[in-house]
Symmetry: C2
Subunit: 218 residues, 2 copies
């Protein structure tokens, strides 16, 4: 079995990193984490990686003169580790178009909304404010425009009348931890392919999890 080499880029707690670490621990999972990079030296995710025996480094954006030299350093570390797919997991730096194009179709992100709704920040607050009945999360390829890239998997959850941002986050986060490894698995097993600005999955999986609508039988 071909094993895809991943890098996970973080800035903080790293719960999605943990979900990927756990998924990769399964013997039949078609990917492994070769490198974890944090732009902040105090990110707890670094400890998660070390506990799992994964190489984890800090590339502190504050120690660079500009965005380009920071990204060059990241690019160099990724290349050196022979990374094939970069997973952004709570990485709080916006990447330049140059970096994104270098890693075109090899760079994915998870975003806490049902894109194209609620791009950007404060997605839970905005969904609650609007009174929408569904919220969720999206794993997508990264494109230069933030939160616009081809969608790989989404998970939907209900929003309840008495939800606040914390309770909604608590319902969505477990779904993130399901669909991020699923998306990696689809890519690693060559089941997902980018066509234009869509991701086609021939054998469309159900984004699994308790809150997900079942796919109808054909």
């Amino acid at each position: 079995m071909r094993i895809l080499k991943l890098a996970v880029l973080i800035s903080g707690n790293g719960t999605n990193l943990q979900a990927l670490i756990d998924a990769c621990a399964a013997p039949d999972f078609p990917a492994e984490i070769a490198l974890v990079i944090s732009n902040r030296p105090d990110a707890y995710g670094l400890e998660r990686a070390e506990k799992a025996g994964i190489k984890a480094i800090t590339i502190d954006h504050k120690s660079f003169d500009d965005r380009e030299s920071f990204e060059d350093s990241v690019h160099e570390a990724l290349t050196e580790a022979k990374v094939q797919l970069v997973c952004l997991a709570g990485f709080m730096r916006i990447l330049t178009a140059t970096f994104v194009r270098r890693w075109q179709d090899r760079l994915i992100n998870i975003h806490p909304s049902l894109l194209p709704a609620y791009k950007g920040l404060n997605t839970y607050e905005r969904a609650i404010e609007d009174g929408v009945r569904f919220a969720g999360c999206t794993v997508h390829y990264v494109r230069p425009d933030v939160d616009t890239g081809p969608i790989i998997i989404q998970a939907a959850v209900p929003v309840l009348s008495d939800d606040d941002p914390d309770s909604l986050a608590a319902r969505i986060l477990p779904q993130e931890h399901i669909i991020y490894p699923e998306a990696v698995c689809l890519i690693a097993s060559s089941k997902a392919r980018v066509r234009g600005h869509k991701v086609i999955i021939d054998d469309m999986p159900v984004p699994s999890g308790a809150y997900i609508a079942p796919v109808p039988k054909k």
Copy 2:
């Protein structure tokens, strides 16, 4: 039991009208259709109403000099029939702010997308084009800006890799036929109340239907 008097405004086939007719036929449903208005004399929905013994009239927008006089005529018919809630169901005329404000919080619409995503027309095509994994439909109060009003109920369905607009419509339409009567029932039984630009439902129902995510137990 208080029975809410509805009007249903249509322009065509009227499948959502039929869903409301069927719902109102149940002895415990808290609403009845007092009047159906079509702006087109050839709308099949008129026949549906007549078959159900419901008063159905055509108010042809083409026979009026301007939008205001057309809407005055509609308003008069609604008032004369003592209508308490107006349901737009495939009604293909945009209503003026004047009319919408006259019927503020007594005028609802069904839209074939998970608002706020995909306001406007061609929602199925646009969702498929974007490669989103969920689509759906929304019942909402009408506000002067099209497709922006407070959301009462939404239903979500999966989008499959091989969907075209017809197959996606075929998956969403049955959900429309479930949630539109549910929304009417919530309003008629005073369980839904508008607060700001949200609809609060104290005893939040699950938007039912095969594809809907279950609400987690507390």
